[in-house]
Symmetry: C2
Subunit: 343 residues, 2 copies
């Protein structure tokens, strides 16, 4: 059963392909009668325009690409959901690719999407990405691109982010306010802007409040697929290095949960011996015990906002308008739970 074409409808009705095409698109210069006949037949034959031909003519694919570091991740899967649902509303389809935190893969995937001629690209950078030629290349081709969450400040494009520095400051301040004197930080990888910003927020909160900044209290983890194990490992090391630490601000909930698991198993009491604040508000943080104090990071909203911005830019590009990059910052909040003492 081959798909029906305009030509078949035209032949059946003994009119031209042109008229059929126009009738289906409700051009004003086609008679009501003809429109009626065409539409009826199209319906009975279950006519669906051939997207390939339409795309070739209109040079639009009504498809966008999404590159995300990890799919199985509470925050990112919420972002995906936000993007996909918003895109569908506007008649756009979303192609998903996972960069696996690898720069090489990310580069290849950008190429893939470009040769697929998607109408725009949404990306959250891989940890491994330090060079932005592949991204700038997209922008140079006037292909709309919006970054979210893991962005590069240096790239001139729209961004949807949270204020990581401020959020980290709030998280650390909470530890200070409840009386912690010796606060460690488990940070993310070295390159990503958000792990840098969270670190800077932590540091500033200490210094603003008369606590010394001690680099030996900062532990790194890559936050890839092994976040949980990294959290455990760092916690174990911390107990060996510094048994006087009374609070930790941890870059991501999953790492925090790994750390808590280690502390629990070694009999270190949370929050009596050590207070913990995570980041992102993964669902599981509310159901573990003790429940984890954390920063809520609005993934679904971020996905929606990123698509909306991209959509605007796709429309603008189509109308030959120049795009002025815009940075949208979403609100975060501290969620106090049982992994930190009451104050």
């Amino acid at each position: 059963m081959k798909p029906v074409t305009l030509k078949q409808i035209a032949e059946e009705l003994n009119i031209s392909v042109t008229t059929v095409s126009k009738a289906l698109k409700d051009y004003p210069d086609v008679s009501k009668k003809t429109k009626g006949l065409v539409k009826e037949l199209a319906k009975t034959l279950n006519y669906k325009p051939n997207t390939f031909a339409v795309n070739l003519r209109t040079k639009e694919s009504k498809t966008i690409g999404l590159i995300i570091p990890v799919i199985v991740h509470h925050f990112f899967s919420n972002v995906i959901k936000g993007i996909v649902s918003q895109a569908e509303k506007k008649g756009y389809l979303v192609i998903i690719l996972q960069s696996n935190e690898s720069y090489e893969l990310e580069k290849k995937q950008i190429d893939l999407l470009l040769s697929q001629r998607v109408d725009g690209i949404l990306i959250s950078l891989a940890n491994g990405t330090a060079n932005f030629n592949h991204i700038n290349n997209v922008i140079a081709q006037e292909k709309p691109l919006v970054m979210f969450d893991k962005i590069a400040k240096i790239v001139k494009c729209s961004k949807v982010i949270i204020d990581d520095r401020k959020a980290a400051y709030t998280a650390t301040l909470h530890l200070i306010n409840i009386g912690c004197k010796r606060i460690a930080h488990f940070r993310g990888a070295l390159l990503p802007q958000n792990s840098i910003d969270r670190f800077l927020g932590y540091k500033k909160a200490l210094l603003d409040n008369g606590l010394p900044y001690d680099p030996s209290l900062v532990y790194i983890c890559e936050c890839g697929e092994r976040s949980f194990e990294e959290g455990k490992k760092n916690a174990k090391q911390l107990l060996i290095d510094h048994n006087d630490v009374d609070g930790i601000f941890i870059n991501t909930d999953l790492v925090a949960i790994g750390a808590m698991t280690e502390f629990n198993s070694q009999g270190v009491k949370i929050p009596d011996d050590i207070n913990i604040v995570g980041f992102s508000n993964w669902f599981m943080s509310s159901v573990i015990s003790p429940s984890l104090t954390t920063i809520n990071q609005p993934g679904y909203k971020m996905g929606k906002a990123a698509f909306k911005q991209l959509y605007k830019e796709i429309k603008a590009t189509k109308n030959k308008k120049i795009i002025t990059p815009k940075t949208i910052t979403l609100e975060t909040e501290l969620i106090k739970r049982d992994s930190t003492k009451d104050n």
Copy 2:
């Protein structure tokens, strides 16, 4: 900067478009010299074939569609990852859509994918789907379609599943073996085959082992976005209705975790007062306390297997071969943890 076309390369080199096209595709009937020239120029000009035109000619999009009930879901996001990574290896791109457990949406999305002319469709049915015309329609058009996890037995297509009945039997048997006498079941929605099968496995395990089957011990939850709350609610109700229950087999981990939260807050001891077995092995089940005994359901593997099967069928269809539907059953296993007593 407009994309480069074959025509431009041809003009620059003073040869025909035909030869350029053939040279790039390494046709044997083009001289080495010409091939070299063409390929070099294509590279410097950063030529990328126009997918729209290629698709129009080849009638292939090298794109598949994926319809999934919920994206933010540990099991499903693992499936997505499996599909996307496997597809990329074979040069296929994946368009993701979320049906939100709604039959109406699912139907629309099938239509969307069909008119997008994807090469094949991967689907896990919505809870609300009881009519399969939209699916049969796809199959009638000889468009490859593979179902996974939430399938309909009645539809003639390939399927990738686990043996839900057997797995549920194993889970329930474990409760029986550790001495439970009064075992409840929190089942999923009424329609999905897997919630039916898990229920049947539960029932059979009871009857095979001389325990009476009591319908009042079976509670339903829809397992949509509010699984956790439903688990809590069911647990609360169970304590009111039947305080003699000493074990529960629960359809999904997230519901089980909701139930455990309720039991914990009411001072009901797990596993001393009540033993719990979940289903799916979500990551968080290993980090909550007590950790949850559950059935491991291999999401990543399922995604990979589903794509592989679809890929085979796409190739077969292309070669005009007839497809014999195949059902692939993946292994599951019981993961014993602290929510059930040692035996």
